[in-house]
C-alpha cells in the first residue's frame, strides 16, 4: 500500500462531489468579502469618528475579533449560541463567523487607507468648493481604495484558506468534502493533492485578479510611488495569521 497513485489524484480532482465543495468555498469567500467589506467600512467609520464612545466600541470590536481564533468564533456561534436559544443553519453560522471576523481585518485596512490620504487633498477639495460627498467620492475614496488594494488582496487570500475552518462545523466546502472522500476511500495523499491543487488554483487566480486591479487603479506614476511608500504599514494589519 506504500505508493501514491497519480491517476487516483487526478480522478479526485475531477470528482463532481469535490467540485461542488470548491463552489461552496468560493461562495463562502465571496459572501464573506462582500459582507465583511460592508460591515468593515461601517466599523472603520465608527473607528474614525470623533465620538469617543463610538470609536471605543469599534476599537473593542476590532480588538476582540482579531484577538481570538476564527475557529473558536465559529464553534461558539455554531454550538455555543444554541445554549442561549440562538440557533442558525450551518451555512448561516459559517457566514456570520466569517463576516464578523473578516470585518475586523477589513475595518483596519479601510481605516489605514483613508488615514494615508494626506490632509492636503481634502483641503484642496474644500478650497475648490467641492461638497463633502464629492470630496469623498472623487478625491478621498479613489486614493484610499488604491492604497487598500494590496492589503485587501492579502486579506482575501487568507480568507479563502480560512474558509476551510468552516469544515469543523460541518459546512461541506472543499476541506470537508475532501475529509469525507478520504474517510470513504482512505487515499489520503491523493484526495488532499486534489484539494491542494484547488486551493492553489483559487489563490493564484485571485493573485492575478489583484495584480490587474493594482495595475488598473495605479495609472499615474506619482500615485504608484506613493502607494509603495504608504502600503507598508497598511499591509501589516492583514498579514497576521488568523486561524
Amino acid at each position: 500500500m506504500s505508493h501514491f497513485s497519480p491517476t487516483a489524484a487526478v480522478s479526485y480532482f475531477f470528482n463532481y462531489f469535490l467540485m461542488k465543495g470548491v463552489l461552496v468555498t468560493i461562495g463562502l469567500t465571496v459572501a464573506a468579502v462582500v459582507g465583511g467589506l460592508i460591515l468593515g467600512m461601517g466599523i472603520a467609520l465608527l473607528r474614525m469618528s470623533s465620538n469617543p464612545v463610538l470609536a471605543g466600541a469599534a476599537r473593542f470590536y476590532i480588538w476582540f475579533f482579531r484577538g481570538t481564533p476564527l475557529l473558536i468564533q465559529l464553534v461558539v456561534i455554531y454550538s455555543g449560541l444554541p445554549q442561549l436559544g440562538i440557533k442558525f443553519s450551518v451555512i448561516t453560522c459559517a457566514l456570520v463567523g466569517l463576516i464578523l471576523n473578516e470585518a475586523a481585518y477589513l475595518a483596519e485596512i479601510v481605516r489605514s487607507g483613508f488615514m494615508a490620504v494626506s490632509a492636503g487633498q481634502r483641503e484642496a477639495a474644500w478650497a475648490l468648493s467641492l461638497s463633502p460627498w464629492i470630496t469623498f467620492r472623487r478625491v478621498t475614496l479613489p486614493q484610499a481604495f488604491r492604497l487598500m488594494i494590496p492589503p485587501l488582496g492579502n486579506s482575501i487570500n487568507s480568507l479563502l484558506k480560512a474558509t476551510s475552518l468552516a469544515s469543523v462545523i460541518s459546512v461541506e466546502e472543499l476541506m470537508r468534502r475532501s475529509d469525507m472522500l478520504m474517510q470513504e476511500h482512505f487515499q489520503i495523499l491523493e484526495v488532499y493533492a486534489a484539494a491542494t491543487a484547488y486551493y492553489l488554483i483559487l489563490t493564484s487566480v485571485w493573485d492575478a485578479v489583484q495584480r490587474r486591479l493594482e495595475k488598473h487603479f495605479g495609472r499615474s506614476s506619482a500615485a504608484k510611488t506613493r502607494r509603495v511608500a504608504a502600503s507598508a504599514p497598511v499591509a501589516q494589519a492583514s498579514v497576521e495569521a488568523r486561524a
Binding site: Q121, A124, W126, A127, S129, L130, R219, A222
Partner: protein, 263 residues
C-alpha cells in the same frame, strides 16, 4: 509677446479699489491650538485688487492667517468678512466665501489619480454644474494661460514641480475666484522652477486679481506687492509698502528677519 502685453493693458485699467466693500476684513481674530495662540488679535483689511505679501519667521502664523480666510482653519474669536460675507461658521457662508477664493498650497495638493485636465474640470463640473465640454474649454483656457496646455492629458506625477504648481494655479482659476490665496507657493520647488511660478503669479497680479501671498521671495514682494504684512508670534507686527518696509522696518523683529533672509 502679445498675450502678455494684452494682459498688462487689461491690468492697467484695474486699480485697487480703496472704497466700497473690502475683499477681506479681519477684526480681532484669534486662533488657538490648545494652549497655543496661533493668531493673536489680528486685524487686517485688504482692498479689492490689492496685492498683499505676508512674511515673517516660521511658526509666526502666516499659514494660519491665510487658511482662516477660506475657513480651512476655523478662527476662534473675532470677525472675518470676505467680500462682505461674514465667515460665521454657517455652511452657506463658508461655501460662498470658498467660491470667491482660490488657494494655492506649498505642496501643490493636486489630485494624483486624475489627469491635469480632470484636476481642472472636477470643481467646475461638480460644484458649478458646468457641462463637460464647457469645463474642458475653461480648463484649456487657463492651462494655456499658465503655459502648459500640452500637459493636459498627463498625471501630476509626470510633471515637474513648477509645472504642477502652475496646474494648481490654473485649477484654482477655473472656479473664477475673486481673491487668490497663496501659501508659500514656491517653497517646495527646486530653484530653477521658482521663476516660472512667480511669472505666472505676476501675470495674475497684472490682471487685477486680489492676492494674499505668503512668500519669502522678496524680489517678488518688491515688484508686485502693494503692501507687506509682517507677522511674528501670531500678531501682525508691521504693515507697510515694500520700499518702506525694506528700507525702514520699524520693529526690531522685522529688522532681524530681513537680515536673515536678505544677504
Amino acid at each position: 509677446m502679445s498675450e502678455r502685453s494684452m494682459a498688462r493693458a487689461e491690468g492697467a485699467t484695474v486699480q485697487p479699489q480703496l472704497r466700497g466693500v473690502p475683499a477681506v476684513r479681519m477684526e480681532a481674530v484669534y486662533k488657538h491650538y490648545g494652549d497655543f495662540t496661533a493668531l493673536n488679535e489680528v486685524d487686517l483689511k485688504v482692498a479689492k485688487g490689492e496685492k498683499i505679501v505676508v512674511c515673517g519667521p516660521s511658526g509666526s502664523g502666516k499659514s494660519t492667517l491665510i487658511r482662516c480666510i477660506n475657513h480651512i482653519e476655523k478662527h476662534d474669536e473675532g470677525l472675518i468678512y470676505v467680500n462682505g460675507v461674514e465667515l460665521d461658521h454657517q455652511r452657506k457662508n463658508i461655501d460662498a466665501v470658498r467660491r470667491d477664493t482660490g488657494m494655492v498650497f506649498q505642496s501643490f495638493n493636486l489630485f494624483p489619480h486624475m489627469t491635469v485636465l480632470e484636476n481642472c474640470t472636477l470643481a467646475p463640473m461638480t460644484a458649478n454644474g458646468m457641462s463637460e465640454a464647457g469645463a474642458k474649454d475653461l480648463a484649456m483656457h487657463f492651462l494655456t494661460k499658465v503655459r502648459i496646455p500640452d500637459q493636459a492629458a498627463k498625471f501630476p506625477g509626470q510633471l515637474s514641480g513648477g509645472q504642477q504648481q502652475r496646474v494648481a494655479i490654473a485649477r484654482a482659476l477655473c472656479m473664477r475666484p475673486k481673491i487668490m490665496l497663496f501659501d508659500e507657493p514656491t517653497s517646495a520647488l527646486d530653484p530653477e522652477m521658482v521663476k516660472e511660478v512667480l511669472e505666472t503669479m505676476k501675470k495674475l497680479a497684472e490682471e487685477g486679481m486680489t492676492m494674499l501671498c505668503v512668500t519669502h521671495e522678496m524680489g517678488f514682494a518688491r515688484e508686485v506687492a502693494d503692501r507687506i504684512v509682517f507677522m511674528n508670534e501670531g500678531k501682525v507686527v508691521e504693515q507697510a509698502a515694500p520700499e518702506e518696509f525694506f528700507k525702514h522696518p520699524r520693529s526690531e523683529r522685522a529688522r532681524t528677519f530681513l537680515d536673515q533672509i536678505i544677504h
